[in-house]
Every structure is written in structure tokens, then in C-alpha cells.
Symmetry: C2
Subunit: 332 residues, 2 copies
Amino acid sequence: MSDVARVAGVSVMTVSRALKPQTPVSESTRARIEAAAEELGYVLNSTAAGLSSRHSGFVAMTVPSLNNSNFSDTARGLTEGLRGSGFELLLGYTNYDMAEEERLIAAFLRRSPEAIVVTGGAHSARCRSLLKASGVPVIETWDLPADPIDKVVGFSNAEAGRLMAHHLHSQGHRKFGFIGGDGMRDTRGADRRRGFLAALHELGVTEDRVLSEGDPPLSMGEGAAAMTKLLDRWPDTKAVMCVSDLSAFGAMSAAQRCGLSVPADIAIGGFGAYDIAKYALPDITTLDMSAEDIGRKSAEMIVDALSKGGPASLPDRIEIPYKLIVRGSTAA
Amino acid sequence: MSDVARVAGVSVMTVSRALKPQTPVSESTRARIEAAAEELGYVLNSTAAGLSSRHSGFVAMTVPSLNNSNFSDTARGLTEGLRGSGFELLLGYTNYDMAEEERLIAAFLRRSPEAIVVTGGAHSARCRSLLKASGVPVIETWDLPADPIDKVVGFSNAEAGRLMAHHLHSQGHRKFGFIGGDGMRDTRGADRRRGFLAALHELGVTEDRVLSEGDPPLSMGEGAAAMTKLLDRWPDTKAVMCVSDLSAFGAMSAAQRCGLSVPADIAIGGFGAYDIAKYALPDITTLDMSAEDIGRKSAEMIVDALSKGGPASLPDRIEIPYKLIVRGSTAA
DNA sequence: TTGAAAGCGCTACCAC
DNA sequence: GTGGTAGCGCTTTCAA
């Protein structure tokens, strides 16, 4: 920068100002400086700028999995929502592993992000304390934690499961299955299952047919394998909720390969409003949580919380509306 | 850090060393320092560390689209390959837009990344010169550019298109279509189309039936719309290559909704070995470029180029092998 | 509108 | 194995 200053015949301070928009530098000086910077191939060093100004320009985000259109839609919504405010996204994936999430968050915190967006409301104790001590806005998404760290943009996964249970029950089915992942790594998936089963119990259905198959994220392969096992074990099952549309598609595909007709022989519901649910044959009944909106609302919250002009005007908790999309896989 | 030093009764230099693995600090001192850091809730400032050491610890990567399992697989391969070497990934998406790519690369360069991975071999002139002037390893992926900026991990998209043409022709088809995106934004998709058509011409097929629909990335919706139009315009089409498996699935779904049987009435080939191609009914013939390997090899190249011990031992250009996976959508 | 000085928090370098 | 000093490249603050 001092080289640029020398060539342009000004001080480094003036160069620093000229390189930022909306700073008081005369037009002629700015033009001279820009010419000098171009000539020298000068590139501003954001690391030094961040150290000096104590503004890293980073927003950190962790998602369970990159290869999941729900989360990449949320990341896209966040990026779009942040566009123009000068933030860059530090994106990491945890692979549905709390220890990895903790490692990732710790690494991000060393970069002094100005806000942090995480997926879900379940974290290791140390992760929670790191986030609380960070001193910057923290947003938990895709969930409605009972004891949030700071801010929340999400919905109740249990309620979503209940909604699907009521829909399938209303179609006249009485023998239900649920296909999801092993264990509790995907806590949001487990919440959906819990809500689904609770609603069925309330409706008088007492028999559970839960099939857990493989580590999250459940994709088509695990969904197909789970359906094959489920039909083997309980051949009279009439309606199945899958933890995601990807597993629902795999499950439907497996049922069809077994010669079953969907929904005549078996109804299948998914989750997440993935593209695949719309273009499958038949198309798949699903729950749409507007994944991109979750990111967009998070961005709004961040900009709001970080804006200097007065106190934050947005609530700390935004509930995302969601809707059931009834399609051919459950309604003939 | 000076607070930690005071509490532990050592100098800041010793704290700095103790916080990094593999530095000569006595075990007792290190334990004392770690206790002090924990007590104070101290978090290392990587920004300052990067400024001082001139090692940002970043590897930058741009992909056309986040929500595409090919690219997220490559990003995952890169992350996994970099694990343990202490690098963090700065990931951005260009939305298949060269101007956006240039903006993104410029922003990344201000963060002094230690290596840069980009998708494809087509960039704006300014983007090329920025990358060349960066002074760090640059890897172009998913392509085999004639005039690479620096290093390359990829394959020939045109050759991939040729391979699919030969396969479909060998199945006895003589009336071919190609479904891809509008314009030249997706240069790799355009290369596949070029190779596909060139091979057909060589095989004596003179009639082209190219249907371009919508902006990249082409997803199921555009594939379905394109197939509907294609069948409307050229109802006797017998074999179609789609620029990706997602569009192939959409196209197949549209053909089936029109009452056509796949592959008896129309054969459909895709690209990318997505999950959907494996679980669709029928399953879809595709080209597998081992997307994750592209990321993994890129990571190897970076570690190799940045390792201090002697000169780089890997070639500057790694060609990724790919294979045709013949499935039910083209072979009855 | 511009400039000079101080210092952000850390590590390279050299000394012991 | 440990400590002191200088300085990374920028922006803050204050003064002109």
C-alpha cells in the first residue's frame, strides 16, 4: 500500500480510504490512486485490514452435509441475503458429528467471525460454551431448541412429523412405518420420527414399525434398503413416512421394484420438498420448509443485529412456516 | 495472549509455541499454559497469526453451484484430502457466471489463500491475470484446458460426449437429440454437446436435434420441459443425451408421462453418476467422473506443491479416468 | 479532504 | 527450552 501511495503521490491513509467506497476522497485523487494500484497489480490485504479494524468480514456457517439440497439452499439463501453487506461466508460441514462440529466451530472462532449460523439446536457442551462466549450473534437453524444459545430461525421437526401422520391417517391407512437413520446423530430426523409416532398413538395406532438404516444423511440407497427390509418384516404396511425425500424416493423405487403400486398398495411421504419429490413417478407427498428462506431470514437477522443504527429490531426467534404438499404418492 | 503468558508465568513467545503442536516446549510448561488458556477462555487469533507468519491457512475454491452433488463431492474430496494439513476451505459459488467468478476470486485473493481451486478452464481475462499474478498454486478442475493457468485435474468433456454418442449409436439408434442449457455459460456442458454431435457426424448422422432449455445448472424441471418440447418437435427421436443426470431424470420422467416407454420407445443417457441415475426406474446410463477423486487429487497436488521438503513430485496435469455405466435407460 | 503516529495480536528471528 | 524485539499491512485516532 505504501508503494501505491508513493506512485500516486499521497499518503497510505489516503490510499486506504480511496480503496473503500463511501469515504471522503476527492475524485481526482481517487482516480490517481486507482490507476497506481492497477499499474502495480496491488491487491488489498484483508487479513491486515481485519486485524487493524477488528472486523473480519466473515460470517461462519456449519451444515451437517454439503451434498443435501436443503442445506445448500439455506447456504445460498444466506449468501444472497448477505450480498451487498460485504460479508464472506466461511462454510463447513460437520458430517452429522458433534465432535466434528465442535472442532469446526473452534477453528472458525479463531477467525473472528462477526456472526455464526449453525444447524440444529443440539451441540456438545463445549461447543455451546464456545458459541456463548464468542460475543457475536449465533443463529441456530432448522430447529426450535427449548434452550437456545442466542437466536433461532427454524421450525418444530416434531410438529412436522405429526402433520404427516395426520395426513396419512386421514387417507384411511392404519398400518404405518417410518424410515430413518440409525441412532441419534440426526437429532432433527429423530424429532420428526418422535412426532410422527406420538401423533399415531394419539390417533389410536399402537403398533410401531420403525426401520433405521445406515448413518445419516440417509440417501436413496439407504431408503431403498430400508423399504426392502420393512416389506420383508411387515408385508402388510400401508403407509410409510421417510425422514427425507431422498430416502422416500429410494424407498418408493424399492417398493415399485417389488411389484407394489404407489399409492394403491403402499403410500409414501417424504420431507424437505426436494426437486426429486416433484419429478418422481408418482410425485411424492412432502413437507416444504422453504430451506432458502431459513438462510435468507438468518441473513436479515445478522444484518439487523450488526447494524450500528440503533438497537436490533427483529425478534430473536423466527418461526419458519411450512406446509404439507400432497401429491400422488399418498393420494390416488 | 499476554494475559495467558502472565497467568502461566511465561513469555508470550512460549505461549505462542505451546499452542502449536510439534514445537519445542517442555511438557510441564505446556500443561501450565493450556490450563491458563482454558481458565481465561482464551482463543487464538488466526488473523493476527496469519498476518505475522504470512500463512493464511486458507485454500480457496470456486464451484459453479453448491446444490450439485458433483461439485459438492469435489469439495468434500478436497476437504478430506486437506484434513490434517491444517488448511481451511474458503468455498464460493459462481452461479455459472464469469463476472461473479472474477468478483469472488478477487475477494478470495485479498485473503491470501495458499492455493486456489477453480472449476473449468474458461475464465475472464482479468480473472486469469489475477490468478496468474497470485503467486500460489492454481488448479483448474473438471476440464482439460488447452492453455492452463497452472495445474489441472480434469478430463475432456468433449471426449465424454463422444463416448455417449458411440454407445447410443451402437444400440442401433439413428435419430438423436441432445438436451442442455442455453448459451455458453456452462462451457463444460457445451463441450460435451460438441463432442456428442461431432461423433455422430463422423458416424454418418447428419441431423442434429439440440434442445437448449433454461440457464444452467439444468435441473429436473428444465430437463422435463426440454423433453416435452423435443418430443413435440421431433416425435420420432429415439435416443437423447442430457447434459447431466438431473436433467436426464427430468427428461425421462416427462417421456414416461407422455406414455413413452424407456428405453423401448426412447433411450436416455445422462452424465455425472448422480445417485438419482442409480435409483431411477429404469436406472439411467451415465458417465462417472469420480467427482470426489477430482477434489482428492487436487488436495494431493496442493499438499505436494506447498510441502517444503524438496521440489514438487506430482505432474502439473492429472487426467481423471472416467467410465460409461450402461444401465436400463439405454439397454433393454 | 488529507496526513502522521500508534498499534491491532501474533510470529520470525536472534540471543541466551 | 525460553525470552526480547521488531514488524507483518493495514486502520484508528487525532490533528491540520
